[in-house]
Symmetry: C2
């Protein structure tokens, strides 16, 4: 069995509001977009923001809109990049959860919610290599 996740899909209420957060906040470029979904090509997988109603219908589940216990992390190359990115994400429609500070296990991180309440950790983790294609390797 391939140890592989192909797509991360976040349900969103307002596609354009979400787009501002990812395109203006993170600076990412969509690879595809239409009236109900935006796809981004990531480091070895695809990231999608899809209207929550459509995602819920596809899953045959209620359109849950509350925050849930999960977080996506974007790691940056230096400690000094953490807070400026958090600030830019907040300026792009995000909500601050935690300003950047140093966790016990090392590095530096903070958290921001996207406009739909999905949590993003912005982290500098010097222990985990990231190659030029963005591929991240676990290391202790």
């Amino acid at each position: 069995m391939q140890q592989q996740i192909s797509v991360i899909t976040l349900g969103v209420d307002d596609l354009e509001r979400s787009r501002v957060f990812y395109v203006d906040g993170f600076g990412w470029k969509p690879v595809f977009e239409n009236a109900e979904i935006v796809f981004y090509q990531m480091n070895g997988f695809v990231f999608g923001t899809w209207l929550g109603m459509a995602l819920a219908a596809d899953m045959i589940r209620k359109n849950e809109r509350h925050p849930a216990p999960f977080a996506l992390a974007h790691n940056v190359a230096s400690q000094g990049e953490v807070q400026p990115l958090i600030d830019r994400l907040v300026a792009s429609g995000g909500r601050l959860l935690r300003n950047g500070d140093a966790p016990e296990h090392g590095g530096f991180r903070g958290y921001v919610e996207d406009p739909d309440g999905h949590a993003w950790e912005i982290a500098w983790n010097p222990a985990w290599p990231i190659d030029e294609d963005g591929h991240v390797t676990f290391a202790t």
Copy 2:
């Protein structure tokens, strides 16, 4: 700005119950584990299951336990692999949301919740190439 997600972290209530789903269900091997977290090296990023209380404390947010509007997808190499994997995930503590069937845009997919309510799409998408390292490329 690197178009990159470093880590997907799911909050879980019971680490061992979650481990059964991912190790026995998906057949994945942890790269690290201790009493509160299990990490898996994935295709260009790291996947973690972390006790929900610890994740919530790190995010400075309530420990939300309800399902949320997001889904992770694991794509398989053929249509015939979709339903058997769904069945194995259900047998490993998952909950069936949707048996495999064909969506309008092509391919074949179904959905299962993990033991903590996180949704997984199991899909065959012949349009999106997956290389031998598991790296997935968007294509229309």
